[in-house]
């Protein structure tokens, strides 16, 4: 949640998340479309579907990714608007 720790087994953490670190190239699609996949975050299984947020713009998503990459002590790099644009096009 606001502290990046998620919610029990419902919502996975973003803070210190291997999943976030290792899936940088698919974050735009994940945020836009959500997922029904079961995912493994730091060894813990999460099955609750993640809803998409299709109304977010490319700018919104760039800001979100850069925030979660750097908040709570995370250090997963900076994404450029152009990269989000490319990812955005690939998951229309």
């Amino acid at each position: 949640m606001a502290d990046g720790t998620g919610l029990k087994n419902v919502i996975p953490p973003l803070k210190n998340s291997e999943f976030l670190k290792n899936n940088q190239s698919s974050l735009t699609c994940l945020i836009r479309k959500g997922t029904k996949d079961t995912i493994n975050v730091n060894g813990k299984i999460f099955k609750q579907p993640m809803p998409g947020s299709p109304k977010l713009t490319q700018g919104d998503i760039t800001n979100i990714i850069n925030y979660i990459n750097q908040a709570w002590g995370n250090n997963y790099g900076i994404i450029k608007y152009d990269d989000v644009l490319k990812q955005f096009e690939s998951c229309r």
Binding site: M1, N9, V10, Q48, P51, S53
Partner: protein, 200 residues
């Protein structure tokens, strides 16, 4: 000396007759000299264990109500986190129950609700996640002075409030708070304690 005794007696009387009480919220009418307060209508829904949950489930209990859906992209997770705080606080207090209404009967099947409750690691005897006739759920939201309706323009397809509502043993609304606001929920938890300590 006599004055002090008088003062002491007066303060005792004041304590006796002014215990801290929560207001009874909503409309009221006077019938034959008695005040009739707004109360929540009787209801019947199904919980995550496929058990019927009705007003009888909450007989003799105070309970906290919210409206949510499991695939909610906006405020629900924040509200659920605060409901979880209340759950943890009153986990071992049988006088308090929680009641979460899904406002998306199509997607939130009993199986989905059960999975959600399991993922939160909460007991169904304490925290009921219910579904049912969608009009009944939307209607009962108005009894709790909350809002739940379908709205294609809202993210996720539903417009609803993140309000938590405190209901007493007579199904009267006694307090509420913004379930997305941690500080307001802290105040609300104090209200639950006040209600529990109220003399009948």
């Amino acid at each position: 000396m006599r004055f002090f005794i008088y003062l002491l007696l007066l303060s005792l009387v004041a304590c006796e007759y002014n215990p801290k009480k929560l207001p009874i919220l909503g409309e009221r009418e006077i019938v034959n000299g008695d005040t009739i307060y707004h109360s929540v209508r009787p209801f019947q829904f199904i919980n995550q264990d496929s058990q019927i949950v009705s007003e009888k489930t909450f007989e003799g209990k105070v309970y906290v109500v919210d409206f949510f859906f499991t695939h909610c992209p906006t405020i629900c997770p924040k509200v659920t986190k605060q409901m979880l705080r209340i759950y943890d606080k009153f986990k071992n207090d049988d006088r308090v129950l929680l009641l979460a209404h899904s406002i998306d009967a199509r997607n939130d099947t009993i199986g989905r609700l059960r999975e959600y409750a399991n993922n939160l690691d909460v007991k169904s005897s304490k925290w009921h996640f219910v579904t049912g006739n969608i009009d009944s759920i939307y209607n009962i939201a108005t009894d709790y002075y909350s809002i739940a309706k379908t709205d294609p323009d809202s993210p996720g397809g539903f417009d609803h409030s993140g309000r938590l509502i405190l209901v007493d043993k007579k199904r009267r609304v006694r307090s509420f708070c913004d379930g997305t606001d941690e500080k307001d929920v802290t105040r609300f938890i104090r209200d639950i304690e006040i209600l529990l300590n109220e003399k009948e």
